[in-house]
Symmetry: C2
Subunit: 246 residues, 2 copies
Amino acid sequence: MLNTILNHRSIRKYKDIPVSEEILSKILNAGMRAATTGNMQVYSIIVTKDTEMKKKLWEFHFKQNMILEAPLVLTFFADFNRFNKWCKARNAEPGYNNFLSFVTAAIDALLAAQNVCIAAESFGLGTCYLGTTTYQAAKLIDFFKCPKDVVPITTLVIGYPNENPELTDRLPAKGVIHNEMYNDYSIDDINSIYSEKESLASTKELIEINQLENLAQIFTNKRYPKKDNEFFSEELLKVLKNQGYL
Amino acid sequence: MLNTILNHRSIRKYKDIPVSEEILSKILNAGMRAATTGNMQVYSIIVTKDTEMKKKLWEFHFKQNMILEAPLVLTFFADFNRFNKWCKARNAEPGYNNFLSFVTAAIDALLAAQNVCIAAESFGLGTCYLGTTTYQAAKLIDFFKCPKDVVPITTLVIGYPNENPELTDRLPAKGVIHNEMYNDYSIDDINSIYSEKESLASTKELIEINQLENLAQIFTNKRYPKKDNEFFSEELLKVLKNQGYL
């Protein structure tokens, strides 16, 4: 069991083999067994299998080909819509149009997503999260015809792997885990925590290709630059306003 | 493996038995194998074992006794602090003081938390998430001496179970899963989706105890009322501003 978790790799190449309805149903059921706040289950999952629908998602998600290759694309939403409709139908006044409730609903969606990820991997399937989901929230809401109170938070691509990548590196535990108090990082700590990552052959290759000084600059200048983050931040805040959470 | 996920129950009573360092280390390592955005690992975990520290957490988390009983309390933080310090030490200008980056970091923290939850359960441990974490974020930041860019997002209480509750109910799959498009809910859909939950003996008992008309009113009037949600929303938004994410 723990092995499934320990062997997680993001899979970006998939075989042209469908996932059976039986396995899909088991995976989704595993997602639904995740803890949710007050057992309110304030999230939704949209399953995309249709080729034309996947083509549109491929466009939204920056044309990553794994979206076309993989048989399943699952989008996870923070979703108070169903719960609010239930309250209103029961003469109960919902009070969930606020930021806290968005975070609550996003937590529900993400814990369910990770259950789905692990369950899929336990069936020999590969998965990859799409971080572009929050960037493109407005387009996804429009595309899926989501009502108010529904905000996409993450996406999982799922299918049979057509690659077998190595485990990716992780920071040493002392870089992530703190005992009793937050142990803030000195320059020496930072150097020590990042030294293994910085000395990987793959890191050196990336720096060479990108013609930059170091790995950190690849993140700040190429992969997740300030300008893009600030643009997509404003977009996401607009989405929260439009969907009734701000 | 799937059985661990399918048998998840929140455990609120714990035996007075410590969790070995070996198991704790394996659980934390499982958390660290979760997918993170761009492998940035922009989250942290604080492990609380100390009795006096737990007493303070017990106060912050609305005096739920399981916090005193369980040997481990793990707080998960959205955390760009380490990454930003690394960037600055490498002549790279971080651009992560914005809302999108908060959401990115919160996602990292939550996927790691769910791995920890499942890994703990695979060792026979019980767990319970504390939704009060986002309510009390300012107090937790102060208590743990967290620097800027660090925001608590959830907490897991972990220990050997001293109760064996039934699985809790879940809405039928049609209530949570959508195929291809968001399938918005009619009144008939709502009635059908919630009928099983509403007819449970435990629901009837709750309504009786609370002297209310129905289950929805228990959520809106007692458990998660508008006034509280709005208050804690404002508090959480202030935290995001103070920590540099808004």
